[in-house]
């Protein structure tokens, strides 16, 4: 029965191919998805542009002390991932590729995560949260309220434009070399943050500064507002700005970034609201705003303007450094 044997062989091969290939492919994937030999749980996460659903899942519950392997993939464009509270920073989640990272949260709490690449006009909506629950949840230490709340600043009321504006660009380095002692309220960072740089007027009126030109007093102001941040921290803020802010506010801070042109919700808003992303070189606005006010804006976001909140992503140090960086668009270092 040579005929039968040949036919059976051919049939066997075809059936083996038709059944074997899908079986082999899916079995291989199943084996990969299982707990690794070291018993680590694998969590699949898909990062899509926000219009397509953003991160899924966008809420993860983990046990404190548990190591989890996150496998992140993108079906559309390049995304990024930052989980500041867990020290995770992935620069590129390339479409069609899979990025694997191990996450091991030690402390219970809520950790925000966000996309770090401008994946669409709605990129800033692409966020999620990891909740870490602990077996013995220690009572979370109560954090003090942010400065703008302590001061009772209303974030939606813009302070009036100061009467005196600098003619030339104030220079912090020139202010530092003047050898003038700052009043205690400006020398101490904590109290200075409650004051707007419009305090120029007070310094100008101070008889001790009578010998200084207007430009030098402005240099002094610039120094007072930039002196508290280390150059390294400032550089970190600069890179954060380029990652998170420049797309809308522009690399030059003038509010003309490509992603800020037609922000959703911008057009139909209250006409008294800013018409686009804030121009950080606008002295009338920036000199009227105290650091505490700017901190409030960063913490809370722009309430319908498309400005996202960064309170959940930036540490306190990063917030103050970012505010100092924003000042550098007006004040030279």
């Amino acid at each position: 029965m040579l005929v039968k044997r040949r036919e059976l062989f051919a049939l066997f091969v075809v059936v083996a191919v038709v059944l074997g290939i899908p079986a082999a492919l899916f079995a291989y994937q199943a084996a990969r998805q299982q707990r690794s030999p070291d018993g680590v749980r694998v969590v699949e996460m898909v990062a899509r542009a926000p219009e397509q659903g953003g991160f899924s899942p966008d809420r993860l519950v983990l046990q404190a002390g548990e190591t989890v392997r996150l496998r992140i993939s993108s079906p559309d464009v390049v995304h990024g991932l930052t989980i500041p509270g867990l020290g995770v920073n992935v620069d590129e989640i390339y479409p069609g590729k899979v990025v694997e990272i191990a996450v091991r949260p030690d402390k219970p709490g809520r950790y925000a995560f966000a996309c770090t690449r401008w994946c669409s006009v709605n990129h800033w909506r692409m966020r999620g949260v990891i909740e870490v629950v602990g077996a013995a949840a220690a009572p979370a230490p109560t954090e003090p309220a942010p400065l703008f709340q302590q001061l009772g600043i209303d974030l939606d009321v813009m302070p009036p434009t100061p009467t005196a504006l600098p003619v030339t660009r104030p220079m912090a380095s020139a202010g530092a070399t003047l050898g003038v002692a700052l009043p205690p309220a400006l020398a101490d960072p904590a109290s200075r943050r409650a004051i707007a740089p419009a305090a120029f007027q007070a310094l100008r009126n101070d008889p001790a500064n009578a010998a200084l030109s207007d430009a030098d007093v402005w240099n002094l102001v610039a120094w007072a507002w930039l002196k508290d941040v280390e150059p390294a921290t400032l550089a970190r803020a600069e890179s954060l700005y380029s990652r998170d802010c420049a797309a809308c506010h522009g690399p030059d801070g003038k509010g003309k970034g490509p992603a800020g042109v037609n922000l959703p919700g911008m057009v139909k808003m209250d006409p008294t609201m800013p018409r686009g992303p804030l121009d950080f070189t606008d002295a009338g606005v920036m000199l009227a705003a105290s650091d505490a006010l700017l901190q409030g804006k960063l913490l809370r976001g722009g309430m319908g303007t498309g400005m996202p909140e960064f309170g959940s992503l930036y540490s306190d140090e990063e917030l103050w450094a970012m505010i100092a960086h924003l000042r550098t668009f007006l004040f030279a270092k």
Partner: protein, 602 residues
Amino acid sequence: MVHGLFVDGYEVKTIAEPGRPGGLTFVADRDGAFHFRCAIPCGNLHPFMIGKLIVGPNLTWLRAVAASVLATVGALAILWRRWVEPSLGSTSASVGDGPTARQSVMRATIDLPPDGVAPIVLPPAASGRGFPISDVPAFKWLLKGRWLQWGITVLTLAVFLVVILTGLFGTPAGNHNFGIIYVWLVWWAALKLFLIPVFGRFWCSVCPIPAPGDWLQRRRMIVPQPRGKLYTYAKTWFRKRGLPGARPWPKFLRNIWAQSFGFLAIALLSALILTSPLVTALTLILFVVVSLVVSLLFERKSFCRYLCPIGGFVGVYGQVAPLAVRVKDPAVCAAHTQKNCYTGSDLGYGCPYFNLPMKLETNTLCSMCGECLRTCDRNNVAFFVQMPGTDLRNTRGRRLDEAFNGLMMLAAAFVYSVVLIGPDGWLKITARAVGSPAWFVYAAVLLVFCVIVVPGLFWLCVRLGRFLSSEESHTGRIVASGAKTDSLFAGYSTALVPLGLAIWIAFTLSFTLTNISYAWPALSDPFGWGWNLFGTAGMGWTPYLSGAVSYLQIPVLIAGLVAAVALTLRTAHQHGQRSRAALPVSLFCMLSVVALLTLYMA
């Protein structure tokens, strides 16, 4: 959104992110037109985000245009005097077409040269079919046996399965999906650049799409059924009255019109199919299902012969191939009344494509499956290695459906070049937004262009040629003498075979060389699930030979143009026209090449 920039030819790359001005400095020291393209996957249409950098004075383009004009003029000048063979056979008539088949119109020679120039008579071609390669024992063993064809089919079937699975379950990012990459880059390029020009329609006989239906019809894979019997499931209600077996294919569909329109339908959706793995998989599944249903109800490989949108142009362009299945001595066939090759025998099945091998003059309808080689008990059928283009030497008795296929494919190549390679982003988005109002406008324009504008222009050229020839055409006399009409239009369309193939090769070269580097990571990580089977998953996107593509395209286009011009003159001569009748169609061919060169290089 994050984009990138890559400049072809200069091979410089940068990244562009919103709010982070990027920059690129290079010395524009090469003249010509260079495509620049996005270098970071930015969405489904990413491979088609293309612009053009012109570095003046763009001499390459001017030289290429000049070369195509010179080639046209040169070919016309050399071939202006008539080259006529003493005897011309029929073309592509097959038994399955029954009484509607356009049998040979002309066996007689053209006796009276209308412009009084004595023809240069070539020696009869019949003596030299070429070299019968299947008479070499090793090849004979391979081609007569069934394991080779079966083995390749199993391989293609395996790849096909992976394509379907990755399309259905893999990443929607086309660049990293095995299905998209291996169908639209690897297979398509192999088909256009290699399989059709060398093996003609051979792909059709190892294609995985009809394989399930084929095996079910035969209920065998290796050993043929006694008397080549085929099993179909045409129920009583679906049988044609008076016929015991499967239902014969409807007469009005026994042509390749359905294939041409099927291809157009796919062309309408191509911006979606080419970029979506899921849609690609669903389309292929649809092909398999239709093919299966057709082969369970109808005779033989009716799907491949009459319906498959790919089969139509593969057959038409396959005429340039240097490989052909033909009979050795027609006299032996004429004396042999059993016609095992058509009916089937214990040795094999009747021709699955409804061909009668003794009538085969072109590759158009022959998939080179070798079935006739197996069934012929007089060893009178062989695989021949012939001069490329032998199939096109006879321009008489050509069929209109094949002519239309050539015209439609030419038009489609232009549409693809404008829509996919062109700079207009809005057009690409419209082409992909299937079902939207704008898409319907796009579809209407595309159909009018492919079905009316291009064929209409070609028809006008043919009419103008007749006007230029301005003498009662030889064909007219033949018609009067009672023979069937012989379409001059279809005759001239033979020129579209080398021309269209060259244009498609040029289009495919540009697209394939740019993106084929995606094939390596897709092999290691077919689903985009983070696998690394062969260690190539990390290989990035690198356009190959980006500076040399035009130097590959230009010779191909010129060669196709020269062949096309030669065929227009041949058509004129074989249809008894004066040489100048060929001028309008030659001009049509030349302008097509110039237009394509301009689209790509200026």
